[in-house]
């Protein structure tokens, strides 16, 4: 009873952290009352409920995950890919989206956990162990190929393929058939014409900023075939670019891959301007073609400026060079610059 009174003190009773269930208290109290032989008048005739023994079936074993030891070898428990099984995984997993203030459902009978692909068979220790196991089949890395440059120099062709590892029933991913070949254009032995033709043949597979030719094939069902095809493409392009066909002689000015000053109207303009300045008669087209612009004062500079303007794309710098060259050519004062 003293306990009861102590509990009853209003100031000290309040303690939110202590959880006392109403029911259990009731039972406790009944026991104590019996001990002290003090009978309380039970007006409402509330009966103490007896704890019913829950009948347990004896043939159901307790969950296997509860019996697992903490130092077991997990690789033996979960040797291969398999969808999630609650009683084999001794982790208190939860998953599911629930309203605020509720806990997500546990691992048992939780379809969400089974949907998620799992890597329980590929834990770091298992991977390590398997690596150790296959180590004896591997050969050491060649010693001379110890840096990137050496690799690049001796093996300029780079083959890129992807292997996929995932938890689906099949181990083959259709994307693994794709093969990509990469090579630096400077590693191929090409002359001026062949290079131009090669670039025209590969088209947008050439990246100018990195100087890489990238050929990708995914048309065949197996990677081996794709690889063969990619190699074939590179070989074919290479040898084709060395061939000179008859029709290539018909190349016109518009087909030129670079700006050649001597073949363009700019030269004609320059020469005819020079003839007019020096008060000579006009020249015919052939004469203009063979005219040496070194005879014109500041002619070569002008030629260089115009070629730059066309070949290196128009920019402030090339335009300024052109400006300076023209002014020299025409005998004009130099450009004024703001102070």
């Amino acid at each position: 009873m003293s306990l009861f009174i102590r509990n009853y003190k209003p100031g000290s009773v309040y303690n939110a952290q202590i959880i006392w269930r109403y029911h259990s208290n009731k039972v406790d109290m009944a026991k104590k009352e019996e001990e002290e032989e003090f009978r309380v008048l039970d007006i409402l005739k509330t009966r103490t409920r007896l704890q019913k023994k829950v009948a347990r079936r004896t043939d159901i074993q307790p969950d296997r995950s509860e019996k697992m030891k903490t130092d077991q070898n997990w690789g033996n428990v979960w040797p291969g890919p398999r969808s999630f099984h609650p009683s084999s995984v001794p982790l208190p997993m939860r998953q599911g989206y629930v309203p605020k203030g509720q806990a997500p459902p546990g691992k048992k009978a939780n379809a969400e956990l089974m949907k998620v692909p799992n890597f329980l068979h590929l834990t770091p220790p298992v991977i390590k162990m398997q690596c150790e196991a296959i180590k004896k089949f591997c050969t050491p890395w060649p010693e001379l190929l110890n840096n990137e440059e050496a690799i690049e120099k001796n093996y300029p062709v780079e083959i890129i393929t992807s292997d996929y590892c995932h938890a689906s029933p099949t181990i083959r991913n259709p994307l693994s058939r794709i093969a990509t070949l990469r090579i630096k254009l400077s590693d191929l032995k090409l002359d001026k014409h062949a290079r131009d033709k090669f670039l025209r043949l590969v088209g947008d597979k050439y990246n100018e900023s990195t100087d890489l030719v990238t050929i990708t094939a995914d048309r065949c069902p197996i990677r081996k075939q794709n690889l063969d095809y990619v190699n074939y493409l590179l070989t074919a392009c290479y040898y084709e670019s060395w061939n000179v066909e008859d029709w290539e002689k018909d190349k016109t000015l518009e087909d030129m891959e670079y700006y050649d000053f001597d073949q363009n109207p700019s030269k004609a303009n320059l020469v005819s301007w020079f003839m007019r300045v020096s008060k000579k008669g006009d020249l015919s087209d052939e004469e203009i073609k063979v005219f040496d612009i070194n005879n014109i004062p500041h002619g070569p500079e002008y030629k260089k400026a115009v070629s730059d303007l066309f070949n290196n794309s128009e920019s402030d710098q090339t335009l300024q060079d052109y400006d300076a060259a023209v002014r020299k050519l025409l005998g004009l004062p130099e450009k004024k610059v703001a102070q």
Partner: protein, 371 residues
Amino acid sequence: MFTRNLRVFFRRYSQTCTFRTSELSPAQHSENQIGMFYTIDKNLCKQLFGHGGLPKSYMKQTKTFTETTLMVRLPALDIMNCIKNTDFDKPVVRYVLYGEKGSGKSLTMAHLLHYAHEQEFLIVHVPWVSEWLRRVPRHKEMANSPTREGFVDLPLDAAAWLLHFKTQNQTLLKNPDLKISKEYTWSKRESTAEGAPLLELVELGIARVKYACDVIDALVYEIKLLSNNKRCKTFVAIDGFNTFFYPLTRLRTPTKRTVAPEEVSLTTSFLTLTKNDWTNGVVVVTADQLAVPEDHQESYLPKYLLYKKGFEHLDPFVPIEVGRYSEREFLTCASYYRDRLWLRGPSELEDELKFTSACNPYKFMELCAPL
């Protein structure tokens, strides 16, 4: 008495303030006046730019400010310097003004026109080529050329231009030296005799609109000849020159076929004028982004705008960039706007405006408008 005092006061004021120069003759402008404003006489302005030549927004501004002032800027001075040092016996030198939108190419050209007028050049000025080739009002007069097969005439535009030419060169055309070298027969009854003054040719073109394009052709030929013979110096200024090289115009023949710029007779005559096969003249053209449709406005550099064809037509030319305002130009411009009450508010405003407008003259003007 009061007005005189006022005038005296204003003169004093303009002498003291830093953004104005009292030097009204462009020939006398030098580097000391860079960034300063000078005023063009009203009558002269009317004569030179009465039929176009100044941008529309600038015209509006002159109306608001009740004066036509131009800033002395480096590109114009540069060209003037070049002209002064040119040997006029050599083939004509072509100058290409280029620059971003609204950086003042047309106003630089106006400055040069003023200079040319003062130096008694015969001015051949095309205010805006797109007016002919790209702007299509509801009733655009078009006709197939009677003299040349496969060409399209723009008689009204041509006549309007002749009028512009006439007003710009009022005084020079009265010179009796300017005579025609050969006889032109327009029709059975109409012809212009050899040795007739140039003015007669021009007036015929204005009066008989039908022949205006042919008159321009003849005029171009005569001007070249006269310049070669040292009868006159010629100043050719064409604004929006790159329109001539854009593959298509917005014109359509009565059969709904779109017209290429080469097929317009005006194009051919002005292209012959910009070749360098004549002497004693100066050619200034602009390459403007606004002169071509938006699909060809990625860059403001001249080779891009003129295409390879135009480049080869003009080269060797002198590219002159009309850039944004420099620090000094910006400050004088801002103080000018403050003087004209176009810009008000605290002085920190200018810093902000400088960055927001990125020192672009047109943008700066626009931004100041609501302030």
